[in-house]
Subunit: 304 residues, 2 copies
């Protein structure tokens, strides 16, 4: 079973179409679900993909355009109807806190769970941390405040080489320290270097979610080498002028960012409804960055 | 082509399921579209059924539970993206006016059309009138203020009997008066009764939309003889206690209201997601009222 997977719930843009839901993505990291954006209809697609409401405790909003957040009131109501316990944290800008508090207080007053707002800013910051991951924001360039999110696993423990640990008779009580990279010091004072006892830790997975943004040449550097970069590709390069005017990116621009960041894979999305043949998005991206994936609702990518 | 038809966009209840959308119904009356309730996802179902956004100028909200109105912000945004002109009137209670004004002003600021709020009360009243129809409210009994809507065509003109009009040499200028039911008075003073010159007008169509409500024995009298009664049937009679507690009706109760009102047909809906076999709703209703129809998304009923 995967310990870090991405699920696409919606990859259309603002004008609704029958081919796509508006924006929403779920990351399943060790059975904790992290939702990024929540367009109208997200709760139904969530059910369709058999994700578990009980495991959803964090929702991150990239920005406050309706196609990225208008599914939130319905979802909040449904979680109440399903008798969710505990709490749900919504990470959003100050105006989002204000308007959603009002909406929830009107439409979802009787909640058996707590809604916590984590007010974020359109700047680089660490906004979430638990035992296994951190989430950081990077500011984007759209028509209103907007951030991307970088999810990163914390450094993992090194792998014990069972035969060597047995050979040097390392006490069980010291295994945790050894996994942490420390050497083993024997009773006679001799030092067994860690590299003899362990193999390197599994690399930490990094995922970057870059929602609506105009092309930013310096963004790649902030993203760095990620296992997967979701980057909006609202337009094809033939409509570059529209992209610039509307604060969006073309598939080619997303591919440049993926290439310059040193990403392993690029995932497209947020397609303008004007295009009938969406394979053109990956075709355009692959001319610059080969490992480009065509996004669609129901897509699941395991990153481990 | 029908001049008065009903289109079901959603007939599920509050807990979302993959089988139904939340509440929404559209009446197409002479190519004007009247929407009743607007649950999440309504705008997509509207498109799926190839209804025309440009013909939608009135939305009536029965009450302010989320499953009846949380599709409104997305729809309002989409109409702006589609460059709708003119105006759109939303008929809702005062708290609805207040909360939706806030939501629209945040998420749908730049609208090329005007949103007008018609503040209604949970009482019997005429709330809408145009050349061909009137809409009246009837108060219901739910967990918060709630109304049903009665749509009624205005009395139509009588049909001219061409041969008789020719025989009596009725001048063209008087035909409108004759269609209105007046006698024809000849130059010599003799009176030709209207019944000789015309056939009765086509009866006016009446439709009643009774959303969430506990059973009300006196409601039937207020509804009267309608061509079609939509009446919520959230539960089967075996769960009558739940119906009473939650302010809902069973299929049998809806059927009693249809029978007592003298309705021609009953349309079920707002099914609780607990029932897998929804044919039981009409089965139960038909034991009391034979002309009961099982509702589903995509259902279209022509009433003329």
């Amino acid at each position: 079973m995967s310990t870090f997977s991405l699920h696409t719930l919606g990859c259309g843009s603002a004008k609704p179409s029958l081919r796509h839901n508006p924006s929403s993505t779920v990351l399943n990291i060790r059975e904790k679900l992290f939702m990024i954006d929540c367009g109208e209809g997200t709760q139904l697609e969530f059910q369709r993909q058999r994700l578990k409401f009980s495991r959803l405790n964090n929702i991150f909003l990239t920005h406050l355009h309706g196609d990225h957040c208008l599914g939130l009131p319905g979802l909040i109501s449904t979680l109440a109807l399903l008798n969710k316990g505990g709490c749900l944290t919504i990470h959003t800008f100050k105006p989002g806190v204000k308007i959603f508090k009002k909406i929830f207080n009107y439409f979802c007053q009787d909640r058996p769970y707590e809604v916590i707002f984590n007010e974020i800013e359109p700047e680089e910051a660490l906004i979430y941390e638990d035992n296994s991951i951190t989430v950081r924001t990077v500011p984007l360039n759209h028509r209103l405040p907007d951030v991307g999110f970088i999810f990163e696993e914390k450094p993992k423990q090194r792998h014990i080489i069972r035969e060597m640990v047995d050979f040097y008779k390392v006490p069980i009580a010291q295994l945790s320290s050894i996994k942490g990279g420390n050497p083993f010091i024997r009773e006679d004072g001799t030092i067994i270097p860690n590299e003899i006892l362990t193999r390197p830790a599994t690399p930490s997975i990094r995922y970057a979610h870059i929602s609506d943004t105009a092309y930013m040449p310096y963004l790649a550097e902030k993203i760095g080498a990620v296992d997967l970069l979701y980057h909006e590709t609202t337009y094809l390069n033939e409509h570059l002028a529209d992209a610039v005017q509307r604060g969006h990116s073309t598939a080619a621009q997303a591919a440049m960012t993926a290439r310059d960041a040193g990403a392993k894979q690029l995932l497209t999305g947020h397609y303008s409804s004007r295009y009938k043949d969406e394979s053109l998005f990956v075709k355009e991206a692959r001319e610059i960055f080969e490992n480009s994936i065509l996004n669609k609702e129901g897509l699941k990518i395991a990153l481990d």
